[in-house]
């Protein structure tokens, strides 16, 4: 447990530091965020044709309401946490890679629900939007990552589970 905790902390700090560098922002975070906005817009267009995306900004052409997807809203931080947890836990690389891929899909799926819900909450009530944006969805995404990690642990071969769960 101690080994896992230290590795997890080290990997998470390294990944967050890497994420904040200008090249990572330019070549990964910015395109990823625009992609998230495009997918969210395409999803909403299925039932609301008045939604358009300009880069990371999603806007309603009906009333001009817009949300801009920034750092912390693109699911990248939750992905980093999950990747760090899977890399820090002793497991075969094949399991890690599959877990990371499935985890990213799970996190981004919930993040999509988050963006869609916030887009309409913001048009309905500003205070509820702030509450959901600042507190509720942050915790829900983290619970999502935690559940994915716990389910992933269940899929590990016996030896890795024994090693990883051994007391410090």
């Amino acid at each position: 447990m101690l080994r896992f905790g230290l590795l997890f902390a080290a990997i998470i700090v390294a990944l967050f530091a890497a994420e904040l560098t200008p090249p990572a922002q330019r070549y990964f975070v910015a395109p990823w965020t625009s992609g998230v906005a495009q997918v969210a817009t395409a999803t909403m267009k299925a039932f609301d044709p008045a939604v358009v995306a300009y880069g990371p900004t999603v806007m309603s052409t009906k009333n001009g309401f817009a949300v801009t997807i920034l750092a912390g809203c693109n699911g990248v931080e939750a992905m980093i946490v999950l990747i760090a947890a899977m890399l820090a836990f002793p497991a075969p690389w094949k399991h890690r890679l599959v877990g990371i891929a499935v985890g990213i899909v799970a996190i981004q799926a919930l993040n999509l629900a988050r963006i869609v819900s916030l887009f309409y909450l913001g048009q309905w009530d500003r205070e509820v939007f702030e509450w959901a944006h600042l507190y509720v969805w942050q915790v829900l995404v983290m619970i999502d990552a935690l559940v994915v990690w716990l389910v992933w642990l269940r899929t590990l071969p016996r030896t890795e589970r024994l090693e990883g769960a051994a007391p410090a």
Binding site: M1, G5, F8, I12, F16, L20, G72, E77, V81, W131, L134, Y135, V136, Q138, V139, L140, V141, M142, I143, L146, V147, L150, V151, L153, R154, L156, R158, R161, L162, A165, P167
Partner: protein, 199 residues
Amino acid sequence: MTRLGSSRSILLFALQVLLFSVALFAAWYYVTPVSVATAWGAGRIAAATDAIERATAKVQGRQATFEVEPDHETIRRNRLPTDAVVDVPVNPLKHTFGLPFFLALLLASRPPGLLWKAPLGSLVVVALAAVSLACELLVQVGLMRGSGSEPLFLFGAGWREAMALGFQLGTLIFPTVVPAMLWAWMDRETLRQFLPARR
């Protein structure tokens, strides 16, 4: 204790976390002492920096306003009145929402020693929230400009680095990751239920 021996019980655990979260988030939103304690700690941390003499928080509703008194050097350099005070509003809830999350995780798994683990973990979460709130306050103070557009408060290089790091950690890690890590550390028995021998 919730048995996490199967994927189904993991989902049940997640459901319990959500249900406890609803109640605990409602309580946290309306309970001012958490914000008062966090803001008090943040004020003490801010006052330890080299450009601030004192930072006193007044919590009204869900908003904290810090009355920041510059140190003597800052007053002299900016030719400020000796009793100069700068008001800085900050939202402490942005930093303390990890507390109901942590308690929801703990109540959902109900580990042995819950009665000491809950207050101890809460103390850690609130202490880190105070660090995070202090960093947001200091970043705001550091951005203030004097009459000649020069920085009003000059912090040492070490403090500036610490503020930037604390602000990043406070925004990205403290309120969401730390509660989950604390829970995992305090409830290792639940994680050990993944051992095949225990199934």
